[in-house]
Amino acid sequence: MAAAFPEPASPPRSSPEAAPIVEMRHIRVSFGGVHAVDDVSIDLREGEVIGLVGGNGAGKSTLMKALSGAHPPNAGQIIIDGKAVTIGNPRDAKLYNIETIYQNLALADNIDAPANVFLGRELTTVWGTMDDGAMEDATRRLMARLNPNFKRFAQPVKSLSGGQRQAVAIARAVHFNARILIMDEPTAALGPAETAQVRDLVRQLKNEGIGIFLISHDIHDVFDLSDRISVMYHGRLVATVTKDDVTADDVLGMIILGKAPGEVSRKELEGLKMPGELPSEVTS
């Protein structure tokens, strides 16, 4: 078993020339005739963070569920390392080293942290029984880096705090040599200190060459961490922009109006700046 955080000799730099590790082409996901995701194409390179933003129901989570195997796409192609692949369930996704931290964390509340971290990938002894000692040991090592205050390794995760539960979900995603990491609102339920911890972790993972899709409502998170930002609106992709080329206002305009910066008229921009329309820290 490989170490939790492999330290690459030289952190790979994401550059526009590098081949993407994953491409999603013309993805469509339908729920009974309604296209929750409609003809969306998006790609991710090594060591890159893509901020995925959009209003409620824009299709961000659904698009990512198509990649994580939780809800396979109805149409479109997923290409990993240049090869078209089929991801029909979460097991397939894990085979391609795609790991996901779900918004609701997807923990089994009645079992303990090591059992959750290794759920579906239990370590076993030579007799085929579960090696709980080895799993707890690995979890202790992981937690020493993710959340040093974490001590409750034998209690059901139901009894843990929100931050500790988040740490368990993160530990599960990063332990298995993820190459592609999907983080769905990783800081939504966290306090300021824990949020800072998660941001540090994202930077650290990025430096290790992991490609990250970051879904967030927090425009600060997105601007702070992303290399590129993909904006979705009503199931469609509005545009993918390089962070350094846009302002927070531009992105907010895209989220609210569903149009790329060049397509937005002066009048629409004025309308956006109506008092109370936008949080002040973004418009300032």
């Binding site: 979460p90 996901t100 997807a106 089994a108 509340d109 009645n110 079992i111 059992a115 579960m130 709980d132």
Partner: protein
């Protein structure tokens, strides 16, 4: 690993010493201990009420044998309920398999396969076929539940109704008797027990297993530098475990063969009978031995194998289990196959006791089995329940029924008490969980 160097002794010192803390340090399941105490209270209560005759070894052997049929099934029902499902068909499945055993012995084996009563291991062939029938019934029901998506309540309710009809069709409404003598041993009369020597041997194996488990556990913890149990707790656990096992063995060996059977045995084996008759210790009845084996095996499956982990994870959060990459449908199907196999074991005990099968073997078992699992701490919310708890639950319910019968109360009274105790046990549990906030 510098963060785990606090020794358990320090932890205890910090908390201050109390009986409760001592139990926590020894990592004793308080719930299970409570059930053991409740069972002891019931047994001793009836002993007092009956003027000291209730707790005789022969009575206890009968009680234990009567509990085995339900207890074996309860070990499987725990997993079914933990996985947020139900199996109402177990009683009828037991009925079908019991009738299968009886017809195999009396009709099918000699007629179709030419296997008559002289054929060796006839009982084993019948048992194997019965297990296969159970597995197939479980697989069919499990497939409809897991892959077709019909709620288990509906599928197994259908099984309950239709399989009882199948029993009637199989024998055209007749009771079938005449089991193989070896097969009958599984019923657990005086002859259907393992005898004094084997009982002591089993006790020795049990003691070694207790000590071995404690040592293995301690070594595993030391290997990774986890907190160890205090030494006094390890020693106390080992001592209590071994004493309990030895005590049970001595108790089982304190009842002897009935004088008539002993005399016949002495004559057959050319032993001169001493004055006062030959004293042959009965030992553990075979059904109890089978139950112990089933319990150990099921507890192993539930706690040491991935299958068990998946069952509990699915019960705790089905969506999370699916997203973790667990093949949840396959897991669900396997639970029902397991349940079918346990039905075959339970049916074997029932058939052996009756020396055949009637139309109503296993009737209402589903209710007693579910009650045993629930009294034993299994939660219908899913994800919570233990195998030993369910077995204890079965014994608590059977002890009440047997005790009331012993005191001369008829079955309506027994049913009233069983129902009230079921509600009280679960109510007490719910109250405790709410107050304690933990398991």
């Amino acid at each position: 690993m510098a963060d785990v160097t606090t020794t358990p002794d320090q932890v205890i010192a910090n908390r201050g010493f109390s009986f409760r803390n001592a139990l926590t340090a020894a990592e004793i399941d308080l719930r299970l201990l409570g059930m053991l105490l409740a069972l002891a209270a019931i047994l001793f209560g009836f002993n007092v009420l009956s003027g000291g005759t209730f707790l005789r070894p022969t009575n206890m052997a009968t009680l234990a044998v009567q509990a085995t049929g339900v207890a074996v099934l309860a070990t499987g029902m725990v997993l079914v309920i933990v996985a947020r499902n139900i199996d109402l068909s177990v009683g009828s499945v037991v009925g079908v398999i019991a009738m299968t055993y009886a017809l195999l012995m009396t009709d099918w084996l000699p007629t179709f396969l030419g296997i008559n009563s002289e054929f060796p291991f006839r009982w084993l062939i019948a048992l194997g076929l019965g297990v296969a029938v159970g597995a197939v019934i479980g697989a069919v029901q499990g497939f409809i539940i897991a892959y077709v998506g019909v709620p288990s309540f509906v599928v197994t309710l259908g099984g309950l109704l239709s399989l009882r009809g199948v029993v009637w069709v199989m024998s055209q409404g007749a009771a079938v008797t005449g089991m193989d003598p070896t097969f009958q041993l599984m019923g657990g009369s005086a002859q259907g027990s393992i005898g004094g020597t084997l009982t002591w041997a089993a006790a020795a194996v049990g003691c070694l297993a207790v000590i071995g488990l404690l040592l293995y556990n301690r070594r595993q913890r030391r290997r990774f530098g986890f907190p160890l149990r205090p030494t006094w707790a390890e020693l106390a656990l080992g001592a209590v475990g071994c004493l309990a096992i030895i005590g049970l063995a001595a108790f089982a060996n304190a009842s002897y063969w009935p004088p008539g059977a002993a005399t016949r045995y002495a004559q057959e084996h050319g032993i001169a009978e001493p004055a006062g008759g030959l004293k042959i210790p009965v030992g553990l009845p075979w059904p109890v031995v089978i139950l112990i084996a089933v319990t150990v095996l099921m507890a192993f499956l539930a706690t040491r194998r991935r299958f068990g982990r998946y069952v509990y994870a699915y019960g705790g959060n089905p969506e999370a289990a699916e997203l973790a990459g667990i093949n949840t449908r396959w897991t669900l199907l396997k639970i029902y196959v397991l349940m079918g196999v346990l039905c075959a074991v339970s049916a074997a005990i029932a058939t052996a006791r009756l020396n055949g099968a009637t139309l109503d073997v296993g009737q209402s078992y589903e209710l007693y089995v579910i009650a045993a699992a629930v009294v034993g701490g299994t939660s219908f919310a899913g994800g919570i329940g233990t195998i030993p708890g369910a077995v204890l639950g079965a014994f608590v319910m059977q002890a009440l029924a047997y005790g009331l019968a012993y005191m001369g109360y008829n079955s309506p009274i027994q049913n009233i008490v069983a129902g009230v105790v079921l509600i009280l046990a679960v109510g007490f549990d719910a109250y405790n969980r709410r107050r304690g906030g933990g398991s």
